[in-house]
């Protein structure tokens, strides 16, 4: 049923938040009866683009046309009227109501609810698309997969003809994913257009008709599935050509081991093994969702290791986190700077004290004046804007917030640094600052760098580890060109020898 005329055409869409270009001149076609996969790392701009399509954000420039006619989605209502519906990662359902009631929520005009008719209608709709769901079941009793089906039914009931799925399999079991794919194929056959956001290569390859790859806000590749032969090829296109960036990298002799992870298992990890020495950067690369998150959370003390061991600065995990010093220890620079690394409603001074408070106490007292002088100096040194101790964290731009976190964490003179996507969402100037800071810190500390940006990993790291399926499939020196060329295969989980 594929037609030549695209049902939705995005042309030259650009959107920036402050100095960060989230989408840059993006042109994409969505066809009826086809599945378009949007592939890209976290922060590549997929979600921004889809929010624009769903009417939640307005583009700075560019146009959207629906069935050949230009449209402006000033709010979500207008996008819905054009038949665009989005299945969010986090479901928007009323837990205490039944499936049918949720499907009809907000859609029914009459005062009285006719439960019998509602149930019949929902049942018929579900059967039509090959879903098996009881319209009378209460949402709270359903599995994640079934809840997702309700979300889809809601959209189908509204006669949405263009469905956007935002990483739909992230919350599903493999079996539920299979069922979802069957439903999606069924919908496409009936003429629906589907946009499918994912960073799972196998899924994209098995499901999509067209593939668009986003990187740093741009569409870097757009191709029909027919022309892609393997997940490795897809990974190579996604990673792009690694460019070595300009960073002062002084050679440092690696010294004692500061982090040793052995056969760490559980929560998505399947026996991760590696060590980090003082004076080196160990870069972990891989497609998101292959165990990086649980690995970092375990090392940084947010979750306890289930099986296997983690030794930090010579101490077992439990021992290390039972009594923590504020300085010369582990510094964690998380990906989530706004929700984890800082308190959005507190001032810069208070946010600085968050992890360094141990250095500014006398008895029960907190020496805020002394801390204030230190922070003022750091604000100056790191060029944090606005240079105001009382500015609240949420008022800072992403780059300035990250600089604030770095200033704070480096002030602790750490001996082990865990940096997670340290330049994600930063403009290039801010990213360079971050890289130089990390390089300087390497003289005193061992650094574990977890990143989806291969250029960043290759530029900064002394050794590289590739993660796939919850373990490090290979570890090698950052100047081993032969292995570097094979990173896409390793990221796709293909055995290499």
């Amino acid at each position: 049923m594929a037609t030549a005329e695209p049902v939705i055409r995005l042309e030259g869409i650009s959107k920036s938040f402050g100095s960060v270009q989230a989408n840059q001149d993006i042109t994409l076609d969505v066809h009826q009866g086809r599945i378009l996969a949007l592939l890209g790392e976290n922060g590549a701009g997929k979600s921004t683009l889809m929010s624009i399509l769903a009417g939640q954000l307005q583009p700075d420039s560019g146009t959207i046309s629906h069935a050949g006619k230009p449209v402006v989605f000033t709010n979500t209502e207008k996008a819905i009227q054009s038949g665009i519906g989005m299945v969010y990662q986090h479901f928007k359902l009323v837990d205490a109501m039944t499936v049918a009631e949720n499907v009809f929520l907000g859609a029914s005009d009459s005062v009285w609810l006719r439960h019998k008719e509602m149930n019949t209608e929902v049942r018929q709709l579900a059967e039509k698309y090959g879903m098996s769901i009881d319209p009378e079941a209460v949402i709270a009793d359903l599995s994640m997969g079934e809840k997702q089906q309700v979300e889809i039914l809601k959209l189908l009931h509204r006669k949405s003809s263009i469905l956007i799925f935002d990483e739909p399999t992230a919350v599903l079991t493999p079996k539920e994913s299979e069922a979802l794919f069957a439903t999606m194929r069924q919908m496409v056959e009936m003429g629906t257009a589907i946009v499918f956001i994912s960073h799972k290569l196998e899924e994209v390859l098995s499901l999509a008709d067209d593939i668009a790859i986003l990187k740093r806000g741009r569409v870097i590749d757009q191709l029909p599935k027919k022309s892609v032969h393997s997940t490795a090829e897809l990974a190579r296109r996604m990673v792009g050509r690694a460019v070595l960036l300009e960073v002062d990298k002084e050679p440092v002799e690696p010294r004692q081991i500061v982090l040793k992870v052995s056969s760490l298992t559980g929560k998505g990890l399947k026996g991760a093994d590696f060590e980090v020495r003082q004076g080196e950067v160990f870069g972990i690369v891989g497609v998101a969702g292959n165990g990086q998150k649980p690995l970092v959370e375990t090392i940084c003390g947010l979750t306890s290791p289930k099986k296997g061991s983690v030794r930090i600065l010579g101490l077992e995990w439990k021992q290390f986190f039972s009594k923590q010093n504020w300085e010369q220890t582990l510094s964690y620079i998380p990906e989530d700077r706004q929700g984890l690394a800082t308190c959005p409603g507190l001032s810069l001074l208070d946010n600085f004290l968050l992890t360094t408070r141990g250095g500014f106490v006398r008895g029960p007292w907190l020496l805020k004046k002394r801390a204030g002088a230190t922070v003022n100096k750091l604000i100056n040194d790191f060029d944090i804007r606005p240079p105001d101790l009382d500015a609240l964290a949420w008022q800072l731009s992403g780059g300035n917030l990250q600089k604030m976190v770095l200033a704070r964490e480096f002030y602790r003179r750490p001996r082990l640094i865990v940096a997670e996507q340290p330049t994600q969402g930063l403009d290039i100037a801010a990213a360079e600052d971050v890289w130089n800071l990390l390089m300087k810190a390497r003289e005193q500390a061992g650094i574990l760098l977890v990143t989806g940006d291969l250029s960043e990993a290759l530029t900064l790291s002394d050794r590289i580890g590739v993660m796939y399926g919850g373990m490090l499939v290979e570890t090698f020196a950052a100047d081993d060109q032969e292995r570097i060329d094979k990173i896409p295969e390793m990221m796709a989980g293909l055995a290499t020898n």
Binding site: Y332, C343, P344, P364
Partner: protein, 354 residues
């Protein structure tokens, strides 16, 4: 019709936000006046009686101050918990337990010298109130219960426990069957200041209020509470012992409400009887919200809402308006002030027709 667009304010309002607050209170009074009209009471005269009754004479102001003391302490207590986003609705029960603890000390050691006995009563009140606050905190940590529901339900248990004691083992044999304990000994009573009717509990409020401010502004634990109140995830990231802090604030919260119970039993009633429970613990929640958890604001708001309670008594005597009217005004003020918070953060801009 003119249409408006809602825009988030970029700059902070600062002192100008007090205009919004005053408008909200004026609106609440206007609505109260409408209700007076509906029951046939002259509204202007009614509101004036209310104010005169609350603040119009020395006697009225003293009475307002006396009632402000327990409200202030309970409110300081709930504000401690609210700052950590722990919703302690149980000041009423913790207040009752404080009164019970203080009464126990007063009845058991009536002959001790005054400073010793009063200290013991304070200690017993704080321990009893603190434990009453600690139970919901521990249930929350261990079993994941909701502290709002548990603290609320424990209020009823506390009140029943108080009644059980005064109807039973603590009942004064000379009370002709009335449910009340014997009068406390002279040593167990917090005295009045000079010739005024106000008891020296007001100094306790002053000291505790200042300590509250110092604790949250200058100590490490106070800072950790502030950070945890803003973001639990960030607190865990920074190695702040969040679970311990939850228990700590609930104990402090209960101890402060317990202290209020001690003062009420010792200074105001001089014994324990069921009429000690008049809902100060609930008014304290309203006060804490209106005052945005700031101790100085809590002091002012406590005085104003205590005045409302006193003023309504005059309204009842002079114009036969039921006492429940006071609770209605209290509720209206809370609603309008909370709703006005919207205008502190957003502004409405008229939309021009294109």
């Amino acid at each position: 019709m003119q249409r408006f667009r809602i825009i988030k304010r970029q700059e902070r309002l600062g002192w100008r936000s007090c205009f919004i607050l005053l408008t909200a209170i004026a609106l609440a009074l206007l609505l109260s006046a409408v209700m007076l009209v509906m029951r046939g009471t002259p509204p202007v005269e009614g509101i004036l009686t209310l104010f005169k009754g609350a603040f119009g004479s020395r006697w009225a102001i003293e009475d307002s101050l006396i009632k402000a003391i327990p409200i202030f302490l309970c409110s300081l207590g709930v504000a401690t918990a609210f700052r950590l986003q722990i919703w302690n609705i149980g000041a009423e029960g913790q207040f009752a337990l404080g009164a019970i603890g203080a009464t126990w000390a007063a009845l058991t050691f009536p002959e001790l010298p005054k400073p010793v006995l009063l200290s013991m009563m304070i200690g017993a009140a704080c321990i009893a109130g603190g434990v009453w606050g600690m139970i919901p905190a521990i249930l929350r940590q261990r079993l994941g219960t909701n502290e709002i529901i548990v603290t609320l339900m424990m209020n009823y248990i506390a009140i029943l426990l108080l009644e059980y004691l005064v109807y039973g083992i603590w009942k004064d044999p000379a009370s002709y069957g009335f449910p009340m304990t014997p009068m406390f000994s002279e040593q167990a009573i917090v005295g009045k200041i000079g010739t005024s009717g106000v008891n020296s509990g007001i100094f306790h409020c002053l000291v505790l209020g200042v300590l509250f401010w110092i604790f949250f502004t200058f100590t490490r634990t106070g800072f950790e509470l502030k950070a945890s109140g803003d973001s639990v995830r960030a607190a865990r990231y920074a190695g702040i012992p969040y679970n311990y802090l939850v228990v700590l604030v609930m104990v402090l919260s209960g101890a402060l409400a317990g202290w209020a119970g001690f003062l009420e039993a010792s200074a105001t009633i001089n014994r324990l009887q069921p009429s000690i429970m008049v809902g100060y613990g609930y008014t304290a929640i309203v006060v804490a919200w209106l005052a945005r958890l700031n101790p100085l604001n809590i002091a002012i708001t406590s005085f104003l809402l205590a005045g409302l309670r006193v003023g309504v008594e005059s309204l009842q005597l002079d114009m036969q308006v039921p006492a429940a009217f006071g609770g209605m005004i209290e509720g209206l003020i809370l609603m309008t002030v909370l709703a006005s918070g919207f205008f502190v953060h957003y502004k409405m801009v008229p939309v021009r027709k294109q």
